[in-house]
Each structure stands twice: as structure tokens, then as C-alpha cells.
């Protein structure tokens, strides 16, 4: 049985959230790609589709429905001369979260946007003592050594650790 016929055998590119219409995965609610020809393929495919959308295409959840996933690309402002990779390329330094990623320029608000909520890091947490950490591993340092605040986003795949700086 071909479980992916309803998405033209390409479940990474197309999805079918309604069970009637195939659309490009990155354009849910937007671009119409295919007519209703796939609608009768069945509920088995729809169930698999749900899992694919939840886990691989949207990648929105990190254990809680309110927890945003780790960004898959740089999300901080790169326009400042101080932005760029560190001396060994293992960490990327950026400015504040960009508006297109929900940034406001305010450290507290942007940390909330990126984490969905934080608590103070304690023993066993993946953050320095005193940091504010979210369930997705993103943490904020309200006072860094340059006198400003920072939001640290762990590496994710090929994307290096990114530190967003708020002067």
C-alpha cells in the first residue's frame, strides 16, 4: 500500500491537513497545490500525516504544547558590526531577536517569546547557575560581563549555538 500517495509520494514537501487537499508543507493555510484527487486515500495516511506535521514539518513542540521548538536558523539581528561567528566558529554572536521572528528589542519579552516561559536554573539544568531557562533549553542571562543581557539558543543540527545580545 502506498501510504503517501495523497501527498504525491513526498510527505516532506506536501501535507494534507484536511484530508481533501494537498498543499505545500511550508504554506499551510496558504498555497493551493493540488485538487481533491487525494481525498479518498484514507485515514491511515492522515494519521501518519499528523505525526509528520507535528514532528518534522512544523517542529513546533519541545515537550509541551506551549514550548516553542529550537530555531533551525539564526534568529538574531546580524546588521551590527559585532555580530558574527566567534573566534573558532563554534558560537555565533547576534543582536536582539529580529522582528520577523517575533522580536521586540526587549530582553524579557523576547526571552518569553523564545521559551514560552522560564524558571531559574538550578542544579542539573542545562544553563549556568542564576540563568532563566525554558523547557526548550533556551536560557537568558540577565547580566553578562559586558553589562547587558543575553539570550542563549543551543546548537540545533548544523546551526551553532547562538547568543543574542541586548545592550
Amino acid at each position: 500500500m502506498n501510504l503517501y500517495a495523497y501527498v504525491h509520494n513526498d510527505p516532506m514537501t506536501y501535507v494534507d491537513p484536511s484530508g481533501k487537499t494537498t498543499v505545500a508543507a511550508g504554506a499551510i493555510g496558504g498555497t493551493f497545490v493540488c485538487g481533491p484527487i487525494c481525498g479518498a486515500i484514507g485515514a491511515v495516511g492522515a494519521g501518519i500525516l499528523t505525526a509528520i506535521v507535528a514532528n518534522e514539518v512544523y517542529n513546533e513542540s519541545s515537550g509541551s504544547s506551549d514550548t516553542p521548538a529550537l530555531p533551525e536558523g539564526l534568529v538574531g539581528d546580524q546588521s551590527d558590526d559585532r555580530a558574527g561567528p566567534n573566534k573558532n566558529g563554534t558560537r555565533h554572536t547576534s543582536g536582539p531577536l529580529t522582528p520577523e521572528n517575533g522580536g521586540t528589542g526587549d530582553y524579557e519579552a523576547d526571552l518569553e517569546t523564545l521559551t514560552g516561559g522560564t524558571r531559574e536554573a538550578g542544579e542539573g539544568d542545562s544553563a549556568p547557575p542564576g540563568a532563566q531557562i525554558g523547557e526548550n533549553g533556551i536560557f537568558g542571562r540577565s547580566e553578562n560581563s559586558s553589562g547587558g543581557s543575553s539570550i542563549d539558543i543551543p546548537a540545533n543540527g548544523d546551526k551553532p549555538h547562538e547568543t543574542l545580545h541586548y545592550d
Partner: protein, 177 residues
Amino acid sequence: MKSYVENAYKNSQYRLVCQYSGVSAEDLAMLVLKNNVIAYELPKTQTLGCTWDFRLHLASGEVLAFSSKCTSVGGWEEVGSLSVALKAIAADSDSDVFSKVSIEKFYIANFSMLVYEEENVYSESGICFTDVCGNELIVAASPSPGAVSVDIPNIHTDFKPEFSVSDLKYKAMVSSQ
């Protein structure tokens, strides 16, 4: 406790020396030389490749805990440096949080600081314990602020320090040989 080295800028250079807690550099040497590492420990949710609380258990009963500091060296650039704390012998870790792993005894014949140095930055980025066969157990600052990355002989680790070890200088502390 600050997550960075305070007053690091001196004589036109950021000097990020290893931070010691509960033990001095000299006492650390006396403690570890001719001692054996018998186990390591870290939070269950973390890996040797990147952990914020790495602990070495010595045969004499002491526990050394490693983390790192992350300090600005101008502009937004930050560099990590090592932090070492001596834990109380009787301190039992929360087994729900930490995982302790016994290893084949690692005899510490000597140890060195691993130093990153350029014109305006000096950072004691890691530490290297060496046994009589030349095997190295390395703990070094990770790219993630506050964390370390660990390389243990004969154990697979996703060792990813902030600076490649080949870019670091070995600064010998003392040797028992």
C-alpha cells in the same frame, strides 16, 4: 556567583584564569597527582559533549566539579574559561538528577592547563590530566556558556570544546614523574 570572570581586563589583556572554589591551584595539584579517577558524574539529561556540571570522583574520596565561565573580551565577543570546585567528600548527589559512571582507574601522573592565547586574550580554557601511558582526560570550556565538554580515554564522547585542542597551549602545572 557570577557566570563570568570579574575584573578580567588588566594591562591591555583579558585574563581569564581558571576559577577555583574550595581548593587552590596548589592544593589541587597536591590532591590530584598520584591519585586515581575512579568515576565521573553528570546530570542525566546532559552528555559528556556538553554538560554544565561535570564531576570527577577520585579514589581518595574527593569530588572535583567542573563548569565554565563566559566572559566578554570586547564588544559582544565572549570567551569561555574553566571553573573547578572541590565538593565535600560526604556530599551525595541526587540520583534522580545525576548519573554516576565508574571507569577503569585513571592514574594522574601530571596535568596541564589548556590555554587559549592571542594578543589581548588569555584564557585557561581547559585542563588535561595525563596518565603514565600518555592518555589524556580533558575537560574544556564548551561553546555553550557555563558548560564544559569532556574527552575520556576509551569512552566515546561527543567532544566539542569551544576551541580545538590543537589551538590550545599546554601549560604544565606540576608532574609527579
